[in-house]
Symmetry: C2
Subunit: 890 residues, 2 copies
Amino acid sequence: MVKRKMVYLFEEGSAEMRNLLGGKGAGLAEMTRLGLPVPPGFTITTNVCNIFYRLDRKFPPGLRRRVHEALRTVEQKMGRAFDSDERPLLVSVRSGARVSMPGMMDTVLNLGLNDRTLAAVVRETGNARWAYDTYRRFVQMFGNVVMGVEHDEFEHILSEVKSRRGIVLDTELSEEELRDIVTKFKQKISEKTGKTFPEKPEQQLWEAISAVFESWNNRRAITYRKLNGIPEDWGTAVTVQSMVFGNMGDDCATGVAFTRNPSTGENRFYGEYLPNAQGEDVVAGIRTPQPINREAGKEGASLEERMPEVHGQLIAIKAQLESHYKDVQDIEFTIQNGKLYLLQTRSGKRTAGAAVRIAVDLVNEGLITKEEGMLSVNPSTLDQLLHPVFDEKAEKRRIGKGLPASPGAATGKVVFDAEQAVEMAGRGEKVILVRTETSAEDIHGMAAAQAILTATGGMTSHAAVVARGMGKTCVAGCSDIAIDYSAGHFRSSGGVTVSRGDYISVDGTEGIVYLGQIPTRRAEVTSYFKTFLDWADEIKRLGVRANADLPVDARVSRQFGATGVGLVRTEHMFFGADRLPHMRRMILSETTEDRKIALESLLPYQKSDFIGLMREMDGFPVTIRLLDPPLHEFLPKGEAEVRSLAHEMGIEPERVRARTEALRELNPMLGHRGCRLAVTYPEIYEMQCRAIFEAACELKKENRNPVPEVMIPLIAGKEELELLKKDVDRVAGEVFSAYGFSVHYLVGTMIELPRAALLADEIAEIAEFFSFGTNDLTQTTLGISRDDAGRFLPDYVGKSLLKYDPFQTIDEEGVGELVRIGIQRGKKVNKHLETGICGEHGGDPKSVEFFHNAGLDYVSCSPYRVPVARLAAAQAAIRGRVKKSGTDQD
Amino acid sequence: MVKRKMVYLFEEGSAEMRNLLGGKGAGLAEMTRLGLPVPPGFTITTNVCNIFYRLDRKFPPGLRRRVHEALRTVEQKMGRAFDSDERPLLVSVRSGARVSMPGMMDTVLNLGLNDRTLAAVVRETGNARWAYDTYRRFVQMFGNVVMGVEHDEFEHILSEVKSRRGIVLDTELSEEELRDIVTKFKQKISEKTGKTFPEKPEQQLWEAISAVFESWNNRRAITYRKLNGIPEDWGTAVTVQSMVFGNMGDDCATGVAFTRNPSTGENRFYGEYLPNAQGEDVVAGIRTPQPINREAGKEGASLEERMPEVHGQLIAIKAQLESHYKDVQDIEFTIQNGKLYLLQTRSGKRTAGAAVRIAVDLVNEGLITKEEGMLSVNPSTLDQLLHPVFDEKAEKRRIGKGLPASPGAATGKVVFDAEQAVEMAGRGEKVILVRTETSAEDIHGMAAAQAILTATGGMTSHAAVVARGMGKTCVAGCSDIAIDYSAGHFRSSGGVTVSRGDYISVDGTEGIVYLGQIPTRRAEVTSYFKTFLDWADEIKRLGVRANADLPVDARVSRQFGATGVGLVRTEHMFFGADRLPHMRRMILSETTEDRKIALESLLPYQKSDFIGLMREMDGFPVTIRLLDPPLHEFLPKGEAEVRSLAHEMGIEPERVRARTEALRELNPMLGHRGCRLAVTYPEIYEMQCRAIFEAACELKKENRNPVPEVMIPLIAGKEELELLKKDVDRVAGEVFSAYGFSVHYLVGTMIELPRAALLADEIAEIAEFFSFGTNDLTQTTLGISRDDAGRFLPDYVGKSLLKYDPFQTIDEEGVGELVRIGIQRGKKVNKHLETGICGEHGGDPKSVEFFHNAGLDYVSCSPYRVPVARLAAAQAAIRGRVKKSGTDQD
């Protein structure tokens, strides 16, 4: 094993050494190299942390010598000495992992103080009160972090002294009282730990270093690592830095700043500071920080006004850091007696909107390339920019919190079942469907509702998945509500009773439920957003289409940059209040003739839907999936609904029940659905095809350019598709000859069964396109019913039996393998085969990258995910190129 | 196109030309070449039939000339002439396809007669009555077959004449009357068809040939071809042969014979004949045929006694034909005036038992090789030899007929639901579960019953499949019964009411339901059967194990030659009346502790089951699948059962209902089952493993050799198996250290999800064996729920969208591809990986051949299918060798 350096002075490190020095250590080293004013110090590597644990929490041989050498160098630079009676050196000891783990690990400030060095500090500064306050802070922090005494114990002593004196603020404490408090703190520590507070700075230092290493394995750090997928063996570095003080008087201050506005992205230095304060005071939140820049209405408070020179220095440093790091920086600084010191720099966290604007600006400023700009924004954050939001100014009464299952904001009247939802929506009312959980039997109600609220279920529960698919707002698993269906109300954990017909508002982006109506407003698409995604389009190879069932969805999709509709779920059209009765009549038909009559009534609806969709998508393909779900999904389940339907249809309830019973399935997911319906009842697809082709012809008469793609679901083999395609082509021929002209169209299939993927070569002899239905393909390949997975899938992800929820992120090894096989075998036989994917995964960035690499032609996702997919596709293309050029060099 | 010969004289053809000459033509040709006494004739090829249809039912040019040439040759051989006033030649015109299609197509005898030639025949034979009878037969047959007049029309005339005369038999008709009848027949033909009966033999001949070709496309032939998978373009040949007559006097006869006994296989010439009769008289069944061999009690009637010379000739021909064809022959012969003529020879159809005996005998006689012997028996027929049958002598009252869904014979009391079945079986009663249809919720009832009878559903309905899996007798889809659950009885279509508790008997081999108790008897395994299957074992490569849940199943399996148990479904054990309460208590447990207590009560049962199974299989592997079905399958569904269970358990019914509701799944097939149960409740598998290893240790103490294989179901990836295998190994370690010794065992997995097949390489790093669960793999790969497939699968097979029912015969292209991938990837990583299959397909011969070719190590099937699988495996090995040596030569 190569002997690795264990300790790096700041001037020996660099930004590239983040893995070894941690984020903080690397940032300080880099700033030191840039010549910025950084208090001298050094970093003990993450590697030492690993060795420390390997040696059963002992320091490796040689470490002490290295640390002493580094400390000597710091002493020389500072003209101070550790543990000295004259100009003693005080240091901070901080943790720093490869990635930021905010608040997870420990820090000790002002280390090196004891009664003796304190006297020297008092002598040197002439500020005894400050010195004792510094001592008090040190003992408190060390006692807590290193010696393990609860924070409350110290606060209790502080409060006692203050209340005895009748004061509120720490700053009002006198030198005398602070001295008394230090003594009491030390007594408390002895009492609680049985140990004396260490007076020797040397001992303080090593115990602090040890404590920082140990904090890598405290419970909250372990939990955080698990949640964020941070490997245990990354370890933490320890940075030891000479102290500077922002609390020595009015020419002192401490602050944090962003080189650009992290909320809006505006290119203006942005931050807050506290005069005469130490960093922890900012965090404590007792005093209100002041702005760095001059602000109207707050004249005189800003750093710009108070310390214009230092402010000018910071502005210069902003430019230097940004051009060096090519990114927005988040810095911490301290001003000691008018002199600026930088204590940290790191990439600044920002909102999605800011990220987009910053990326565009940095590209325009020539600091980064478009590709770098693309990679700087997390695609998943984009859709929060697009969904409707509640008016910020409206008053809101929050009554529950659940999971943010499908983003957006919606208001409506509470209904408790699907039939009610359909009925009230039919009367033009806006409703919110509230259920303990939803199932396939609720789909028509979900389609009719503005939003869905469930009391149980997770992010991939039926409600969540279907709502996202429909682009409906949804809060799932809201355990704050208890539904009593029979009473027709729910009660919130706060004791509010909400009855059927009462208004509630649901925020699916945040997962919050409010009482009453709240006005919503549409999010605006900025020009930065547009520019940014136009660049994404320049770079990406994958096409991005939208899943859209209604013309309005298609319009939104176009605005978000979709170049086609990749999935029209025609069944959702049948759930409309005006259509459902015809659909049910069709299902209850006992002869083909009756069925055809009912279908005839549905045809005008379908046709007008298709006209609307293809008009919005003029010139772009619209992929229409023929009827897919099992027929029983359209029938009512409750006894009352059965009776009412029977009454409406003028038939015996017994007949409705008998038909429902006859259609009942044990595993509807694997049942009589998809193209299997058409094998049994060819007249259903025939009607749908007639509607599609008539719609296309009508549009062509208007001189528009409709591009219909007829998609047949659940194909398991070539023979089915061959049989059904014949019918499609026959109907097309009939319609075209009636109109006297024809429209170009494609006939293709979903690849959503493992068998279809395996037999893709045969199927591609017939199909003109493939659309991978990765939702169903995931269900069949893994043998997991999405509707039932809630009972065990969380366990599976929790125990790492699956890397991700396979319904959110594609299972690359299993389902992905079938997608690869499908593409490869399909394209081998049919070079012109168009391939896409229209499952939930089309809007998931990690999955989009997979689809790019697998060679698909396009992805299709819900309208609001279109920008996400566009960016993810661009990132995939960039990473693909990098990987490729990397390979080429090998 | 090469000009092909259209007409072959018998002496120009051979047995190899069956495709061109049809079975009949080829047989006559071959016998002619062998020098056997065959009346001369010729055959028009099947190829001409195809051309006939291509030319829109016209004869190809040149055919007439060829036929005339051939006819001239026949005339010369016979010393007769067609359409001659002196010694006229009469011929038969018969159809003959490549394979026998009994009764499907048409035949005309005695062709060439008219008033003029008839006079010549009368002159020649001096037997006017016979001549008129022959003429009458000809006109009737020609009128029916060629001219399309209904058979009844002729029978009507005949009856009229007979009743006028007051006679019963045709043979009592006088010459005069026959002449009169001929005239009436001709009048009727004119009346019905508007055409005159053709007097010219030439015209008769061509019309008859045309009619035979047309009969290839009559409705019954088309149906038969569809049912038997016979391609349309095979066509039929037409054989024209000079007539010989068995009805010219007492030195004449006609008969059929098998060269060995087709029922028993005994090596003795076997057949029947009618003196002074024509072939059709045998078929008509008016006269009782007499035995060919002398029989005790029927002295004087046999051919052996009546015509010893001819009998001797036949015995010689038997030897000649068998040694030539190397198979048992089914021959037709006619004796005209003491001279023997052979009219047909073909491979003799035989019972399964006879087929086995004949194969063994022919091998021992040196006529065929063992391999040829293997190939001579259809594996599917074997299991009919093994199941119990009803005592033949018992009186039986049949009350219904359904599908022979699972073979065997059983008697028991009628019950109408699963709970009743379990309860009564618990009291030691034999019950038969009668349901409209069954579902997963009935499994415990099916397990408790002797047999299952359903009113609806097909050969792959839930009842059928599960019953076959369990080796239970089952009649499915018996539409003769109408069940009234609430009244607690069913009514048969014949009006019999059978109430709960009444005895019925069910014959699953024939699909028949009888009223009352009928004694059954065990089928005997003959020494021929044993020898035959021992030879199969010498030849086959695949191992054959049995699916067995009980020691008695294991014992039967060993008797049938299974070398191991490939699948123990442990859940079936839990359905026992004594175990189910504990199982339910376990499921209703609210804490892990309660669950463990309930599991403890189950442990002794499991352990004793495993001891029994491994004792029966001493020295052979027993593959035990840990709990697989979703827990809700074990809970009662009806309200009354819920109450009674709650009462038993001493808990509120509400709790039972709530738990049942919580466990309810939309798609249980894809739900919380298999190893997913163990991920959530590890204690279940832990108990089962403890039972397995303790059982193994107990047996080892008895100096036996248990070979347990622990099988974990529904694995989707390596991680699951890794997690669960750790637990298995831990429990094994604990048990072995308690006993102080260890037992060799394997841990493996089912491959029953597409993902598992695709990731077989990773899984094989952990698994020591794979067992392909082709039932579930078929469900997931095709996305078809077996329980729900009844609605569309018959359509799919009917419309040729699928070649076979994929639950009966493996879908080679889809599911089979995954099996191939699984084996290949698994063995690549783990050379010692043992691979088998334990789905329904393990007992299907066509699937077994696939598994052989795919390289599996063994198949496992229900005990009664073990002999089927052994033979199928041998046949696969033989075919594989032939194919391979064929390839080698290329």
